[in-house]
């Protein structure tokens, strides 16, 4: 009985409360949603840029992956610059101007850097060509051996006395 009374009183109070009957302001719903969307876009862009920047005190880690203090500070700076309206290329250019191109985990595909991009493909094609050449020669050698064997066999048969 006491529980029933408590529920009824609570329901009455809830209905009587202006907060309960007044729908939340539209701006109260929309603004945080817009803000969280903008935040998540900014976070994604920050992550994208941070993944391409090298941690100065680590071995081959990006500032996104490194837990070091300087990496976290650099990541915060990336975020700040993106928030201020700079493009990802502008942010990368800022870090290159301070640390040289070394700061980029993947060097820009221009000039001498092209060696890094083209060499694997050229070596792969060269290797493929070499294998093709060797296989062709082996096959040709095998065929000629078989042919020579057949000729020899024929010659042997023909020299056999009847």
């Amino acid at each position: 009985m006491i529980a029933l009374v408590t529920v009824v009183v609570a329901a009455t109070l809830a209905l009587a409360s202006p907060q309960a009957v007044t729908p939340p302001a539209v701006s109260a719903i929309v603004v945080p949603t817009q803000r969280s969307t903008a935040d998540s876009i900014l976070e994604a862009r920050t992550t994208e840029v941070a993944k391409g920047l090298r941690c100065p005190i680590c071995q081959g880690l990006s500032i996104q992956d490194s837990p070091s203090e300087i990496s976290q500070q650099m990541r915060a700076l990336v975020k700040e610059q993106l928030r201020a309206g700079k493009s990802p290329d502008d942010v990368r250019a800022y870090f290159v101007s301070k640390y040289s191109e070394w700061i980029l985990l993947a060097p820009e595909a221009k000039g001498f850097n092209l060696v890094a991009y083209l060499a694997p493909a050229l070596l792969f094609l060269g290797g493929l060509g070499t294998i093709a050449l060797v296989v062709r020669r082996w096959t040709a050698a095998g065929e000629s051996t078989v042919a020579q064997g057949a000729v020899a066999a024929d010659a042997g048969q023909s020299t056999q006395p009847d």
């Binding site: 100065p56 005190i57 300087i70 500070q73 650099m74 700076l77 301070k98 640390y99 040289s100 070394w102």
Partner: protein
Amino acid sequence: MNWRRAALASAAAAPVIALLAWGMTRDPKEIVSPLPGRNAPEFSLGVFAPGEPPLARKVGDTIALASMRGKIVVFNFWASWCLECRVEHKDLSFVAQQNASKSVQFVGVLYNDVPSAGLEWIGKMGGQAYPSVLDQGARTAIDYGLYGVPETFVIDASGRVAYKHTGPIPAALLQSKIDSLLAAPAVQSPASR
């Protein structure tokens, strides 16, 4: 011997060998800074360690690069947790005192450290002749493309980075850099920057 095949194999291997040989001449730890020759990034940082007379500055004062135009600035990044910083500390204080009457300003920058630890370290090291400032969030360190500590930048009177040194800087080397800048005529007037 098939000379044609040997020549072909040599020609194919030569660029790879040349590339590897060139790589062997380079020190992967040595990263060339793009800053020397360029205008030094501006900074404005608060003093947390006053230094000693005649180079002392009040705690809480702001030291800005712009306010030191016309002077040679020795900008040294250090930290209390940095073992190598102990090696150069006496040399830096000595050179700072030797040049106190000249147009040379020494500034220490505490890197990723807390002022209390920095002050304790200075006390243990027997003092520091010049003031040190605090770099919150390592923004100035990043602006100077810092890889680690200690690193020292020598900035000329026109505000350009004349020299960067990674690791403990010997007194003789630092003095020679200062002397050459003091002897050199001003490259640019401050107004032209």
